[in-house]
């Protein structure tokens, strides 16, 4: 057992309101520089939709992530042989248009325009070329309603849905959607790190944050092709790649990352997980239907004395182990099993988990009118607006069992809380639903507490970073203790 610690995350999609505050918080801090205008380390996608960059989930085009070849795990995009034949050009790279051409507006024109018979307008200007452009797409074009029918209909997760299911999804004015906020998953088996020919990408030992060394990066861009989530970006100004750093300067000082901190819907949770690194490869090679369970089995019980001893032996700090014992992520992922990894079939073993959203049917069409049926709030999950198959494509490698389990449990908790607080639902029925959903009343209370009444301190259990230990590896803090200080400019003298 090779116990390591990983800062992991849970996004509760049932609570996301799609306000994009997280994206803006991140943008203002990290990607407001020249060359990064088009980057959104944090972005919020509308599902169904094609996302950012367009159809990033389609690995037939982008060749991101891993595949199992003759029992060996290999990157889809590159390899020793492929890299020689593609040494001058990396195939499978999103173009600027697949992200979007960043723009601003010519606001000065509103003030400087010569007098005329019309109101002056602020026309869009490309932030890359500085020239006037026609905006064709944006980082969240679906949400901007800039072309939703085209983009929504081309969501890769719609694969395998029956015509009836599609009809069910798009029944009411084609306007059903949920939100899917994305940041770097800080994967356990990161494709970007494996692909980098310069060794610029690395996964930090102490907390598993995946970082890109700007001094080592040589701009090969193999990471961009290899990351199936397309969360490494190329800065066209510096010629180096960049990615989400999980706001490590904030995390090291005990603060939640900016996108977590600013989240209005309180959907984001952050905490430490202890995992068994010796089984990583074995798990990453499992067949698709066993991947979710396999990844879960990597996560170790932080209260198990054997795990604690192994962690200590591996140099994991006691404070980190304590932090892991209180981790909200551990509860959602391992104890309650309601949070699931996105597209685990890419085999990077992402460490960002999603609680799948409920989508009760609130209205249906009657001729040309839309009839509302709000009384059915506690719907049957099988007939939800978003088909199970769609969520399974997103969170279960196409297999519905884990998604169904998570949704069933969420629904049972709702019934149980309704019976408890309002009382218009029969308690015995609620209890039976809990049992059927593999849930106890205590667990239901826990889920309810952490979902609905969670404060900052409940959502973010951030381990002390112990930077002093890291620094001491390279520098002796006592080196200059008896050295020469600044001293006096004119020394003090005894007497008058």
């Amino acid at each position: 057992m090779d116990v390591r610690s990983q800062i992991a995350m849970v996004f509760h999609l049932d609570k996301c309101i799609g306000c994009h505050t997280c994206s803006i918080a991140c943008k203002n801090i990290w990607t407001d520089r020249r060359g990064t205008e088009y980057m959104w380390w944090n972005n919020v996608e509308t599902k169904p939709g094609t996302g950012y960059p367009t159809r990033w989930e389609d690995q037939d085009r982008y060749a991101g992530g891993w595949e199992v070849n003759n029992g060996d795990l290999s990157l889809k995009s590159t390899g020793k042989r492929k890299v020689i034949f593609n040494i001058f050009h990396n195939p499978h790279m999103p173009t600027m248009d697949d992200y979007y051409e960043p723009w601003t507006y010519d606001y000065q024109h509103l003030f400087n325009a010569p007098e005329g018979s019309d109101q002056p307008t602020a026309r869009p200007v490309s932030m890359v070329t500085g020239e006037l452009i026609n905006i064709e797409s944006g980082p969240n074009w679906d949400d901007d309603l800039g072309g939703s029918p085209i983009y929504a209909a081309n969501d890769p997760n719609l694969a395998g849905l029956t015509p009836e299911q599609r009809e069910q999804l798009f029944a009411v004015e084609r306007l059903v959607f949920f939100y899917f906020p994305r940041i770097c998953n800080h994967c356990l088996n990161p494709g970007c790190v494996a692909a980098c020919p310069s060794g610029a990408l690395y996964k930090r030992g102490e907390d598993g944050i995946v970082l890109l060394d700007q001094k080592r990066c040589r701009g090969w861009r193999s990471c961009i092709a290899a990351c199936p989530y397309k969360k490494v970006f190329f800065n066209w100004s510096t010629g180096k790649s960049e990615k989400c750093i999980l706001c490590f300067p904030r995390v090291e000082t005990g603060q939640a990352p900016a996108c977590f901190h600013s989240c209005v819907g309180r959907i984001r949770y952050l905490g430490v997980l202890l995992y068994d690194a010796s089984r990583l490869e074995e798990v990453a090679k499992l067949p698709n239907e066993q991947l979710v369970e396999g990844q879960r089995s990597l996560i170790l019980d932080p209260n198990d004395p054997a795990v604690i001893a192994a962690a200590r032996a591996n140099g994991v700090a006691d404070s980190t182990i304590e932090s892991a014992q209180k981790s909200p992520v551990y509860k959602y992922v391992k104890l309650w099993k309601v949070a699931l990894p996105p597209h685990i079939e890419f085999r990077t073993l992402p460490m960002l988990f999603y609680v799948p959203p409920m989508s009760p049917v609130m209205a249906h069409r009657e001729g040309n009118a839309v009839a509302h049926d709000s009384e059915d709030l506690f719907h049957d999950i099988e007939t939800a607006r978003v088909p199970m198959k769609f969520l399974a494509n997103l969170f279960g490698a196409g297999h519905e069992a884990h998604v169904r389990y998570a949704l069933k449990k969420q629904k049972a908790v709702r019934w149980y809380r309704r019976a408890l607080t309002v009382g218009d639902v029969d308690m015995t029925l609620a209890q039976r639903m809990l049992t059927e959903a593999d849930c106890t009343p205590e667990e239901a209370d826990g889920i309810y507490q952490l979902t609905s009444l969670c404060s900052f301190d409940d959502r973010f259990i951030i381990p002390p970073a112990h930077r002093e230990e890291a620094i001491q590896m390279f520098e002796d803090p006592l080196e200059h203790k008896q050295g020469v200080g600044f001293g006096f400019l004119s020394g003090p003298h005894r007497g008058m």
Binding site: T54, Y62, I150, E173, N368
Partner: protein, 311 residues
């Protein structure tokens, strides 16, 4: 003295010594190299004449590309000769009437200045020619058969010219720098300076089979001399090559511009074919996702778009 400083001094002295030693060594190597180079100058006038003059001149065996040098000392004085030989071009430019007459008789071919000619060497050579003329000994002019060319000669010549059959002593094939009119659609090389690259009329320029054969035995021009000094052309090879040149002179005009155009057209066709092949092999390559998707949807008339909402 502080022991530390002392040992430091010692180290420095040792360093200086080793630098001096290295200089000595370098000097010794230099001297050795010069000594090795010296014997090259020690060849006698006869050898020099054979290697550098005999390709165009004979003593008493008649005219080749250049005039017979027998009794040249009676025709021109020593001072004139010493002015002419190292730099023939300068005399032509100056308009010396005798040189212009020579040029005419040589079909306009200017004598290339001999390589490695010093003043003392020139004196030795002129002495040599004078002595040999007086003694009546004949130098040069032989070695090449007079028999008529056969078909086999011609086949061998073509193979040698094009490099299909390498020259015995390892010299480069003619085609790398020269062309002749009979070479076919691609023509040959054009590296040699104009008009020499085209060998179609070389027969006329250098004055027939005998002159050209002698010329080939030790090509005197700076570029060819440098190459073929080490890798001479064998007499049988020269004979075969002459058959090609003679055939070209007899049967066709100048190597014209058609081969160049052919070359360009075939190159263009090849490039286009290459692009088509690559474009076909990699037609599924990554181009653009979003733009292609939107365009595809719009082209499909987007049934889904129009039947979707009533708005």
């Amino acid at each position: 003295m502080n022991p530390l400083t002392h040992s430091f001094r010692n180290q420095r002295t040792a360093g200086l010594l080793s630098t001096a030693f290295r200089f000595l060594l370098a000097f010794a190597v230099l001297v050795l190299l010069l000594a090795l180079a010296a014997p090259a100058q020690a060849q006698d006038a006869a050898t020099f004449f054979k290697q550098n003059c005999s390709s165009c001149h004979t003593i008493g065996a008649g005219r080749l590309a250049g005039p017979d040098l027998k009794n040249v000392h009676t025709r021109r004085d020593r001072a004139w000769l010493k002015q002419f030989v190292p730099n023939p071009r300068a005399m032509i430019d100056r308009g010396d009437p005798y040189v212009l007459k020579l040029l005419q008789s040589a079909n306009g071919v200017v004598m290339p200045p001999p390589q490695g000619l010093t003043e003392s060497r020139l004196n030795e050579i002129l002495d040599f020619i004078e002595a040999e003329s007086k003694a009546g000994r004949i130098w040069g002019g032989g070695g090449l058969s007079d028999r008529p060319y056969t078909a086999a000669d011609f086949v061998l010549g073509r193979a040698l010219f094009s490099g299909e059959k390498p020259l015995a002593k390892g010299g480069p094939a003619c085609i790398s720098c020269h062309t002749v009119g009979t070479l076919g659609s691609f023509g040959g090389g054009r590296l040699a300076p104009a008009p020499q690259y085209d060998l179609t009329r070389v027969y006329e320029r250098l004055g027939g089979r005998k002159a050209l054969g002698s010329w080939l035995s030790a090509p005197p021009t700076p570029t060819m001399n440098a190459i073929f000094k080490q890798h001479p052309i064998e007499p049988t090879e020269a004979f075969a090559l002459l058959s090609v040149v003679e055939d070209a002179a007899a049967s066709s005009g100048e190597a014209d511009a058609v081969p160049l155009l052919n070359f360009f057209l075939i190159g263009l066709g090849g490039a286009v074919a290459g692009l088509v092949i690559f474009g076909t092999v990699w037609r599924g390559r990554f181009r653009s996702v979003r733009r292609a998707l939107v365009r595809g949807e719009l082209q499909r008339g987007s049934a889904s778009l129009t039947t979707g909402g009533e708005r």
